[in-house]
């Protein structure tokens, strides 16, 4: 089987990937209970991208499931979830960024998913594609893999520890040519990542990877 990308993203760090339409993207939670912020932009026109609000509108749900076709901000399918051994993912929480830590936790200078994903996208040439420097505005609202954000009483946002076991994985089939990024979320103050960010693996291949 042809493998096009196989990277391990260290806990709290980020990386980039490319996938062509028809290829499979597998993301593995190597040690368990680790959220991965994940974005996908159209390689042919990065002003079109996987959009969490449009996915919620199309799926009439906060949570994606196996078999779902995820859509772009122009309401076109971009990724299909073809396998999911975890079943708990989030489509509502914006990427943690410098202000998440400086304003809401009083900790300036913390590693964060927004800058992790920007680094990943820059490494994949997004600046060249856009013809200008990219900034935070060019990182869409992410899909947060393995992140557990239940609806709790009275419509409040629950922040809970993830449910993924070591080796838990999700597989997407790319329906368009995509450029994207993955961040192993560095949040180490609230339950999300078991208080210890850990590595994720991302594989792009011609077939789904179901065991690692």
């Amino acid at each position: 089987m042809a493998i096009h990308t196989d990277i391990v993203v260290a806990g709290g760090y980020g990386g980039g990937y490319h996938a062509r339409a028809g290829q499979y993207i597998t993301v593995v939670d190597l040690e368990g209970v680790q959220a991965g912020d994940f974005v996908a932009l159209c390689a042919d026109d990065p002003s079109e991208y996987l959009s969490a609000p449009h996915c919620r509108e199309a799926l009439l749900s906060l949570f994606p499931r196996v078999g779902d076709k995820l859509v772009t901000n122009r309401r076109r399918p971009i990724l299909e979830i073809v396998n999911d051994k975890v079943g708990t993912h989030d489509m509502t929480i914006p990427a943690c960024d410098p202000t998440r830590y400086s304003v809401e936790f009083g900790v300036p200078g913390h590693r964060n998913c927004l800058e992790n994903m920007l680094e990943g996208l820059r490494g994949r040439g997004l600046e060249v594609l856009l013809g200008r420097a990219v900034d935070g505005l060019d990182v869409p609202e992410p899909l947060n893999l393995f992140q557990n954000t239940p609806v709790v009483a009275d419509g409040r946002v629950g922040i809970a520890e993830g449910t993924s076991q070591p080796g838990g994985l999700i597989v997407f089939r790319a329906l368009l040519n995509v450029i994207g990024a993955l961040s192993s979320c560095p949040q180490d103050m609230i339950p999300s990542n078991g208080l210890r960010p850990s590595p994720l693996r991302l594989i792009v291949a011609d077939e789904p990877v179901l065991e690692v």
């Binding site: 901000n73 929480i93 202000t99 935070g136 609806v151």
Partner: protein, 211 residues
């Protein structure tokens, strides 16, 4: 009357303003810290897609996503602080007769066109049009995360009033929703008011129960 600050502000608040948004269009107003900004559905049944940009830097804008995390709530409630993509409160919900709004859904294509026109007329060039807060939109969220979107239930005269916390360029669109049947068809008028004195606000309708 401006906010009760320890030092008197050097400049008075700008004149009060009332402006109607025709159905199918969008309008922009500049709102100053301390003013009361209200949005009213004059004819009922009309969703207001609501956007705001910091008056000093359009790269900072109202974000429904950051608002949900900041307040720990999927719903917009009384006293919810609406925050920017940099986690700064830009409005707070001060009065609300309707109590059913949406922080989850994207802008409709019709609305994006109308907003782009309003921004161009005001010579504002933000890098992108952010996701809106959808005032009066009737989305119900169940505990399993499923969403039910129903027709807008706003009555003629339903109104939400926000205290302005950061000087902002506010754009409000009175358009079709992304999916059919959720908002008035054809779209109907919204009224925007910028008020300096709470006494100048018309009386609210009796409040509906929160979803």
């Amino acid at each position: 009357m401006p906010l009760l600050m320890t030092e008197l502000p050097s400049a008075p608040l700008p004149d009060e303003l009332a402006l109607d948004v025709p159905g199918g269009e969008a309008r922009m107003v500049r709102a100053r810290q301390g003013q009361l900004l209200s949005v009213e559905t004059l004819d009922g049944g009309q969703i207001a897609e609501f956007f705001a940009f910091s008056a000093v830097d359009s790269r900072e804008f109202l974000s429904p996503h950051h608002t949900r995390v900041f307040g720990g709530t999927f719903l917009l409630r009384m006293a919810t602080r609406m925050v920017t993509n940099r986690r700064r409160p830009i409005f707070v919900v001060s009065r609300d007769s309707h109590r059913r709004h949406d922080l989850l859904s994207p802008a409709s294509d019709a609305c994006l066109g109308a907003v782009a026109d309003a921004l161009a007329e005001a010579r504002l060039r933000p890098l992108k049009i952010p996701d809106p807060v959808n005032l009066f939109m009737n989305t119900e969220l169940r505990s399993d995360g499923s969403i039910r979107a129903g027709p807008c239930l706003a009555r003629p005269g339903d109104r939400i009033t926000l205290r302005v916390l950061i000087d902002a360029d506010v754009v409000v669109a009175a358009c079709q929703a992304g999916q059919k049947g959720l908002s008035a068809d054809p779209p109907t008028r919204l009224r925007l008011r910028l008020t300096n004195l709470v006494e100048d606000l018309p009386e609210d309708l009796p409040a509906l129960a929160q979803h």
